[in-house]
């Protein structure tokens, strides 16, 4: 079947006009090139690439905001000492140009330990397809080590959803979904792998499998339990192609709790939901969880808490206006406070909604709108200095925003 030529030409022309129109704000706002010297982010300017949207951010122990910025061919890091009012000169991480792969749901990751060591993992799809690279800085982000492959099967198996996690004792963990076991009999989905070290500078990353049958299209949520071990809330691929969520806790030796199924929504589907869950653990050990489902039992965006490490949880609370595509919720607990944000879209505008609790998730405020965009936008995240919670969100029209979440 061949469409009529004139019709295609018209569509093509409209497409080009759209691309042209959108390319300028993408260049001007996402990376703020005018605030970075030496023409940094230049490779973001060549098209309407979405990569520049997916900025990951974290605070170090001194309250400095660090941003990890992907562009089409390079990764950059910059920082702000005044909560996003001004940013430092951006530092380019990879010297040679590579095809950076960054998606809202599968994004680069940055952590900073208590000594100020900055550690980064980012994803490429180049001569070496679909793999991730680790790099670190011991001089406050002035220079970074030569990027190193994490996977010891990188040449033959793709992997996804890489995330770094730094424990309270500064042990580094790196989790990812790996396809190396995918073709084994009876295996479906990807295998969760990890590597952990207290000496990342040695660049030794023994790969260890943790759990088969994970939904590779959904970002996993990781937080530190009160005992300091990373706890992972993620979408499992269960028998019958059910894509519900489960939880597990990991020590350097492997899984020490779980995997335990948490949600019973019965979402049977052979597809990529591309909606990962979120987890934040209160100082009192309560797990706060948000997730998305289109299961036969319930459909939409939900929150629940668990005082039994996910084995039993509160009655799921639906989030958002079901007619406005509520999605990509993120939860953050800080002392007795819990904040939840999510996206809603009405066909024209994306809004970030917020609800808050001051009693560990028992009672909640009414939703309020704390940010909006009429353009393409990233998933929203909540990050904290340990005293204050912030919204971290990037959009083409408004650029990167760091918005204080004041207690209700």
């Amino acid at each position: 079947m061949t469409p009529k030529t004139d019709h295609i030409q018209l569509s093509f022309l409209l497409g080009l006009i759209s691309i042209l129109f959108l390319s300028v704000p993408a260049t001007a706002l996402s990376g703020k090139p005018d605030e970075a010297s030496n023409g940094s982010f230049a490779d973001m300017a060549t098209a309407q690439s979405r990569e520049g949207l997916y900025i990951s951010a974290t605070f170090d122990s001194n309250g400095r905001l660090w941003r990890l910025i992907p562009t089409r061919n390079h990764m950059y890091v910059d920082y702000s000492d005044d909560f996003g009012q001004n940013y430092s000169k951006a530092v380019q991480i990879n010297a040679s140009s590579v095809k950076i792969k960054a998606l809202a749901e599968d994004r680069p990751s940055i952590v900073v330990d208590k000594n100020g060591r900055i550690m980064i993992v980012y994803f490429t799809n180049d001569k070496q397809p679909w793999t991730s690279w680790f790099t670190f800085s011991d001089d406050h982000g002035q220079t970074f080590s030569t990027p190193t492959l994490i996977s010891d099967h990188a040449a033959t198996a793709r992997h996804y959803q890489d995330q770094l996690f730094i424990s309270p004792s500064d042990r580094l963990y790196h989790f990812w979904y790996d396809e190396r076991n995918k073709h084994n009999a009876g295996k479906s989905g990807a295998t969760l792998y990890f590597t952990t070290t207290t000496k990342p500078e040695t660049l030794k990353f023994p790969n260890q499998p943790l759990k088969d049958s994970n939904c590779e299209c959904c970002r996993m949520a990781i937080d530190s339990d009160i005992d300091g071990y990373p706890t992972i809330f993620s979408r499992f691929l269960l028998p019958g192609s059910i894509r519900d969520h489960g939880i597990m806790k990991v020590s350097p030796a492997g899984i020490i709790s779980g995997p335990t199924r948490v949600t019973e929504d019965l979402w049977e589907i052979h597809a990529c939901p591309e909606h990962g869950p979120s987890l934040s653990i209160s100082e009192n050990g309560r797990y706060h969880m948000t997730w998305f489902t289109q299961g036969s039992v319930r459909q939409g965006l939900f929150y629940a808490w668990s005082d039994q490490q996910g084995a039993k949880h509160s009655e799921p609370m639906q989030l958002g206006n079901p007619t406005a595509l509520p999605s990509h919720a993120y939860v953050k607990a800080l002392e007795n406070r819990v904040a939840i944000i999510w996206k809603e879209f009405n066909g024209q505008k994306t809004e970030i909604k917020l609800i808050q609790s001051t009693d560990y998730g028992e009672n909640w405020s009414s939703p309020s709108t704390i940010a909006e965009s009429s353009s393409a936008s990233d998933h929203p995240f909540l990050i904290t200095t340990g005293k204050t919670i912030f919204l971290s969100w990037n959009s083409l029209d408004n650029g990167y925003q760091l918005i204080t979440i004041n207690p209700k």
Binding site: S18, C217, H270, S377
Partner: protein
Amino acid sequence: MKKQKLPRPLAQLLFSLLTCLTLLSTQTEARHTSLHPFIKGSYNSVQIELNKTPFLMVLWSIDCPPCHKELNMLGKLTKERPEINLVLVSTDDISLADDIGKTLKKHGLGGIESWAFADPNVARLRYEIDPRWYGTLPRSYFFDSAHQRSATTGTLEKEQVEDWLKQQE
């Protein structure tokens, strides 16, 4: 940090240059791969083009493993049943035209009408196609000759498509 403004004529010149480069690079890319840019209005354009014709629209992505399984099935099916009106829409950015093209070719779908999202505001494009679609892939729409459609999320089975083809006869 203060922003330093460029003189207006120079800024206009740079803007024009950027415009030309953007147009040129995108045009070259799109022609190279025969991918049509899917933008606001494209969804209606496809229906107008296929007036009174049953067709199957499949939305997919190179990052979605179940989509590859479905593309493999569709590649085989289109060889067996070349009369099928299939429209493929990649939700990947059209700047990834080379990767999209390679995937289509790998599954024998290089000759099928194919589009790729060409607006970074993917939420708006998705909404125009279906205001109830959260973006889960693959997503398929079966259109009858009156263009009444039925939606399916998840990998299509060959039998589903064959049954639909039979209904359209």
